[in-house]
C-alpha cells in the first residue's frame, strides 16, 4: 500500500506534482518548477517534507557497541547530541545503506533512506547482538528539512533555543513552534540548514508555521526533484544511483567515514583487503563539454575503450552545465581526464572534475 506523509494534503493545496517514490506519494515539485526551487534553496531558503525517510531507534546498554559493529564510521567518537554520517556494509564491503547516526542521551537514532527502511530494519535485526532494543519508528515521524543561507533566521523565530550555538552536525531536543522535536543542523543540499523530527500529529502545524515564518525571506516549499539536484551539485551520494550493494565506500569516495582501524565491524575484512589491493575504480564528478544530458547507466569511454558508467546526471542550474557522477576505472578517474559519455549512441565529450560542482554553498 502506498503511503502518504502527514503533510500530503498541504502539498496538494500548494499545487505540488505528486509522484510515487519509495512507496510514498511525495511532492516532486511545486508550481515554479525544479530549477526555480534549486535557486530558492541556494539563494534564500526552501522547505522540504522528507517524512519518507526511515528512523530506527536503538536503546539499551549494548547500543553503542552494536551500532559501532553494524556501521563503518566510529560511533564511539560521538558525543551526546552529536550526529554522524555513516553507512552499513555487507560482509563483502557492498553498501546496505548510508545513514545518519544521532547520539541522544537515552537512545540512538539511525536515519535511513526511505527506499531501504524495511531492508535496513531487517538487516539490523538479523545482526542484533548484545543488550539492545531496536524499533522502527518511521511511520510515526514527520521529518522536515529547512535548507538555505537564511534557514537559521526562519527557525530562530520559532524556538527559544539560541541557534548560533548549534553547530553543523549537532542536534538537540527542544521545542520548535511549541512542538517537541529533535532539531539538528544537518541537510542534503550543501547549504546551511536544519532537519526537524516531530510526531506526525505535529507535522502540519510545523510545516505551516515554518512557511509563515519564512515568508519574509521568500521561502518556498521544495520537492524531491530539487533535492536530487542540490545533492548532486555537492556530490552527495544517492543510494540506488551512486552507491548500492555492488559498490564499496572506498570506491564511492567515502573512505573518510570508513574507519578501518576500528576493532570490528561488518565488512571490515573485505574493505581492508580492498584497501590493500587498491581500488580499481572510483566515483568521480564530470562536466559535459558538449551539450547532452548524462543519465544513470550511460556508458563512459576513453577513446574507444569503455572505462565506466554514469550513476547520476542532470543539468545544474547553479553552474549552468550538464553534470554527472560515475564510476571510472583507474587511471582514467583523475581530474582533467577527457572522457566521452555515450548519450543515445552519440559519444559526447566530458571532463573529470573535482568535487563539488557547486563551490559557493553556505555550508561546505
Amino acid at each position: 500500500m502506498v503511503k502518504k506523509t502527514a503533510i500530503y494534503d498541504g502539498h496538494k493545496k500548494l499545487g505540488a506534482k505528486i509522484v510515487e517514490f519509495a512507496g510514498f506519494l511525495m511532492p516532486l515539485q511545486y508550481k515554479n518548477g525544479i530549477f526555480s526551487e534549486v535557486k530558492r534553496v541556494r539563494q534564500t531558503v526552501g522547505l522540504f517534507d522528507v517524512s519518507h525517510m526511515g528512523e530506527v531507534e536503538i536503546k539499551g546498554k549494548g547500543a553503542l557497541e552494536f551500532i559501532d559493529y553494524i556501521t563503518i564510521n566510529d560511533a564511539s567518537q560521538l558525543e551526546e547530541y552529536q550526529v554522524q554520517y555513516s553507512a552499513m556494509c555487507y560482509d563483502n564491503g557492498g553498501i546496505v545503506d548510508d545513514l545518519l547516526v544521532y547520539r541522544l542521551p537515552d537512545r540512538y537514532l539511525l536515519v535511513v533512506n526511505a527506499s531501504n527502511t524495511d531492508k535496513d530494519f531487517e538487516w539490523i535485526l538479523k545482526n542484533k547482538r548484545g543488550e539492545v532494543e531496536i524499533s522502527n519508528i518511521s511511520d510515526s515521524i514527520t521529518q522536515l528539512a529547512i535548507q538555505g543561507p537564511v534557514a537559521e533566521k526562519v527557525i530562530q523565530k520559532l524556538t527559544a533555543l539560541v541557534l548560533t550555538n548549534l553547530d553543523f552536525y549537532w542536534s538537540t531536543e527542544t521545542k520548535v513552534s511549541g512542538k517537541d522535536c529533535i532539531l539538528s543542523r544537518t541537510g542534503y543540499t550543501g547549504e546551511d540548514g536544519f532537519e526537524i523530527y516531530v510526531k506526525n500529529e505535529s507535522g502540519t502545524k510545523l510545516w505551516n508555521d515554518v512557511l509563515n515564518s519564512g515568508r519574509e525571506f521568500n521561502i518556498e516549499p521544495v520537492g524531491l526533484g530539487s533535492r536530487d539536484l542540490l545533492r548532486l551539485e555537492m556530490k552527495y551520494c544517492l543510494y540506488g544511483n551512486d552507491i548500492d550493494k555492488t559498490t564499496t565506500p572506498l570506491e564511492a569516495g567515502l573512505s573518510w567515514i570508513t574507519k578501518l582501524e576500528k576493532e570490528n565491524f561488518i565488512g571490515k575484512e573485505a574493505l581492508l583487503k580492498q584497501k590493500e589491493e587498491g581500488i580499481k575504480r572510483k566515483l568521480v564528478c564530470f562536466e559535459m563539454l558538449e551539450k547532452g544530458m548524462p543519465r544513470h547507466h550511460y556508458e563512459i569511454f576513453v577513446k574507444e575503450k569503455k572505462v565506466g558508467f554514469v550513476t547520476s546526471g542532470n543539468f545544474s542550474p547553479s553552474i549552468n552545465k550538464f553534470i554527472g557522477l560515475g564510476y571510472i576505472d583507474k587511471p582514467f578517474h583523475k581530474s582533467d581526464t577527457e572522457i566521452f559519455i555515450d548519450i543515445r549512441d552519440v559519444k559526447k565529450k566530458a571532463v573529470v572534475v573535482k568535487a563539488p560542482f557547486y563551490k559557493n554553498a553556505s555550508h561546505k
Partner: protein, 128 residues
Amino acid sequence: MNVPDNLRYTKDHEWVRLEGEFAFEGLTDYAQSQLADIVTFELKPVGSKFKKNEIFGSVEAVKAVADLYMVVGGEIVEVNQKIMNTPETVNQDPYGEGWIIKVKMDNPDEYNESLTPDDYKKLIAEQS
C-alpha cells in the same frame, strides 16, 4: 491537464494546429508535466523534410529524454527560436509561446488522422 478543444493530438503527446497550408506542432501540457523542467531541444534544421511519424528531433528534460515525431509530413519552415533560447517556455506555455516547429504540409489529410481532444483526454486518463 489542459487539452484545448481547437487542437489535434497524437499518442506521443504532441499537438498540431492548422494555419492555412501550415501546421504548428508542439508538446502537450501532459508531456511537459511528465518531463519536468525542460533543458534543451535538438531539432533538425529548417528546410528538412520528413514524413508523418518520422523523428525530427528530441527534447531533454530533468526527468526524461524523448524523441519528437512529425504529426503531419512536410518541410520544416520555421523552428521556434524562443524555445531554443528559453526551453522552459514549453513548461510555461506549451500550446502558445511554446510551439516547436512550423511545417509546410505535404498532405493536409494527415491532420484528420490525428486524435481529437476527446480521444486524447481518454488516452492520458488511461496513462495517469
